[in-house]
């Protein structure tokens, strides 16, 4: 009897050790309601294929994601794999929290990704972040409003201004929407800044000095300022976040704005009767497409992870085309591997418009003090949009403050 009991106990122990030899924690921010079910499917399939790995999945809100990761690292209770954004990578790397993925990934693994995405995700020449989703921005144009105002879909910034002024004067709607607060507010300025030839820092990665005192940056600031002054944008610019602008567009109260694919999907799913086109961001002359914003979100491997090999195994498993098609397309974002790009889910018109913008996309700067630098720029732009500072004052002040912050 005793012998049998011992045998049973030994078998139970062996089976349990076999079943859950290691636990892998994965943290994912919710891009849409479909993110959680999408990842639950990946986890279930992965565990089936790898019975010795138990995956603990946690899906949280984007709005407090930065704070969550910071406090998780603070307490040492961070996950092994963390889905986050490329912009925070230098801070995590500076804090010694991430493991470089270069030695864990084979050439074949890396060949699945477009080189431009991998290069943009690198810090100090190392790959601390493997791209998880990407997107590019388009100019949305309300064709009825443009027609009513006697204008045409703009391909250059001068044409955009001309059309915006006409719409504002001849219709009840605003011409060109300018985002004045919250998430990506500063990025809305980049469209003008980059196309006029300016930049925030001297380098996109590894920059140390502000470049906002350049004549190009001033031109861009003056351009947005002139749109506001001439009544070609919506009033009270500092009141509008991205969603507020999108709401104006959906209601037919705004003729043009720049944003991601979600707006097109919302117009369709919410049943708005808007005759619109999703086109390229204007350039400086009509012969060349304008530079738009590209965004990369990425997965990081924690330095303190005890299951790094398992984590990388999960990472590559989760990048299978059918999984990307499942949760990324539903979030109206773009995939990160060549193979996933061929999935039929990404053939939707609004996603194709984003895909066509990718070759002209530029990625925002990354810096260990990135959040502080962005906040400085946002504050100065808000002061300019509200008419409290001239473009010269705003750019000079941002330049000085950013140089101070970048040095700290």
């Amino acid at each position: 009897m005793k012998k049998n009991l011992l045998k049973v106990l030994a078998t139970v122990c062996a089976v349990s050790t076999l079943s859950y030899a290691s636990t892998l924690r994965v943290s994912v921010p919710a891009y849409s309601d479909d993110t959680k079910p999408g990842f639950e499917k990946i986890v279930a399939d992965f565990e089936k294929a790898n019975p010795s790995i138990d995956v603990k999945l946690e899906v949280g809100s984007w709005s407090s994601w930065q704070q969550k990761i910071q406090t998780d690292f603070f307490s040492g209770g961070n996950a092994d794999l963390i889905y986050s954004t490329r912009g925070w990578v230098p801070t995590y790397v500076g804090g010694g929290k991430l493991e470089a993925l270069d030695s864990y990934l084979s050439k074949e693994d890396l060949a699945q990704f477009p080189n431009s995405l991998l290069e943009a995700a690198k810090v100090n020449g190392k790959l601390y972040a493997l791209p998880s989703v990407t997107s590019a921005r388009n100019l949305y144009v309300n064709l009825d409003l443009i027609k009513k105002a006697g204008a045409s879909v703009p391909t250059t910034w001068n044409e955009l201004k001309e059309a915006a002024v006409k719409v504002s004067k001849k219709t009840d709607a605003a011409g060109f929407g300018i985002q004045g607060k919250e998430v990506e507010m500063e990025k809305y300025f980049y469209y003008a800044l980059w196309n006029f030839g300016g930049s925030v820092l001297d380098k996109t990665v590894g920059g140390t000095k502000s470049a906002l005192n350049s004549p190009e940056a001033l031109k861009a600031a003056k351009f947005y300022n002139s749109l506001i002054k001439e009544g070609a944008s919506q009033k009270n610019v500092a009141s509008y976040n991205r969603e507020d602008l999108q709401e104006l567009f959906k209601q037919g109260k705004l003729a043009m704005m720049i944003t991601h694919g979600v707006l097109a999907e919302q117009i369709k799913s919410e049943g708005h009767n808007i005759n619109f086109v999703q086109t390229d961001v204007p350039g400086m002359d009509s012969s060349k497409k304008g530079t738009t914003l590209g965004v990369i979100d990425a997965v990081h491997l924690s330095k303190n992870s005890k299951v790094k090999e398992d984590a990388v195994k999960f990472l590559m498993f989760s990048n299978k085309p059918q999984y990307q098609a499942d949760w990324i397309a539903k979030a109206n974002l773009l995939p990160v591997t060549h193979a996933a790009g061929k999935e039929k889910e990404f053939e939707a018109k609004h996603l194709q418009a984003m895909i066509s913008a990718v070759p002209n996309a530029k990625f925002a700067f990354i810096h260990t003090k990135g959040t502080k630098i962005i906040d400085i720029l946002r504050n100065e732009l808000q002061a300019m949009y509200a008419g409290k500072k001239t473009p010269e004052q705003a750019m000079n002040s941002a330049h000085k403050k950013i140089n101070r912050a970048a040095r700290r």
């Binding site: 910071q70 804090g95 004045g180």
Partner: protein, 289 residues
């Protein structure tokens, strides 16, 4: 000290010790962080003395924000007390529908502060907000106002909302005070021919004073540390023009990752509140003597 007088102290010692540990641990930890060079992720990179405090005091924005926080606190607390006293006096009288009136006034207390702020954000929306719609319908304004686009309109609105959400709590304190005043002294005063105003001036308000003091001290602490209204409505913007110390502190800790500086700001806030409470308690007790 004899054995008898020691006994009560011994009885309260465990709870006192527990309270002391719970209160003192975070304070001691904050002081430790504020005296060290701390990474974004809480790693201590060495003792730096008062350098974090020096950096905070060298930041022009800190003084701007501190003055705004004092203005915010004084405005909300004074506004709350001034509005709450007459409402509490009215609710203390017997009238038809008193129960409903009390429920309506106390109801906002049941809603979380964050939810209230979100609702107000919708109300103040320049395009779809109820406030602009109402003012245009009444013919008071011709075009939509961007209430939260500029500090000159955003901050007064935030103060107003601060007052509205503080009223129920203040009234509950004052109502407690009013019910504790014996009815017979009013009857005696009434028989002596004292008018309502005389009774209010000579009986009600002096007897209500300790409760007003409690309401002031507690409200100052709550309002000074209040975060959701400002954060949800404007995140301290535009251009930091509605930032108060809690939002400034939050940005420092969780957006910029300056944990050492944030710890120093926390200690400064604690010192400010402690100083206010001690000074206020000193004058209140002196007056009582």
């Amino acid at each position: 000290m004899n054995q008898k007088s020691l006994k009560p102290l011994l009885y309260i010692a465990p709870s006192f010790l527990l309270a002391f540990i719970i209160i003192s641990y975070p304070i001691i930890d904050l002081i430790r962080l504020s005296l060290n060079d701390v990474s974004t992720f809480g790693d201590l990179n060495g003792f730096i003395g008062l350098l974090n405090y020096q950096d905070v005091f060298e930041d022009e924005l800190f003084f701007e924000v501190m003055i705004r926080t004092l203005f915010w606190t004084v405005s909300v607390v004074v506004g709350t007390v001034v509005i709450s006293v007459p409402i509490a006096l009215a609710l203390n009288e017997d009238f038809y529908g008193k129960g409903i009136a009390t429920t309506i006034i106390m109801l906002p207390w049941a809603i979380s502060l964050a939810m209230t702020a979100v609702i107000w954000k919708w109300i103040l929306n320049p395009d779809y907000g109820m406030l602009n719609h109402l003012l245009i319908s009444l013919g008071l304004i011709d075009e939509n106002i961007g209430w939260l686009a500029d500090a000159s309109t955003a901050f007064p609105m935030q103060i107003l909302i601060g007052i509205l959400v503080s009223i129920p709590f203040t009234i509950s304190i004052l109502m407690g005070g009013l019910t504790s005043i014996p009815k017979d002294i009013y009857e005696a005063a009434y028989l002596d021919g004292a008018s309502y105003l005389t009774r209010l001036k000579t009986l009600t308000l002096p007897l209500l004073k300790p409760f007003i003091n409690i309401a002031i001290v507690l409200n100052v602490i709550y309002v000074f540390n209040s975060f959701p209204i400002i954060w949800i409505l404007t995140e301290g913007g535009p251009s930091n023009s509605t930032d108060i110390l809690p939002t400034y502190l939050y940005k420092m800790a969780f957006q910029y990752g300056e944990i050492g500086l944030a710890a120093a700001v926390s200690i400064i806030m604690l010192a400010l509140l402690l100083a206010f409470t001690v000074i206020y308690a000193y004058f209140a007790m002196k007056e009582k003597k």
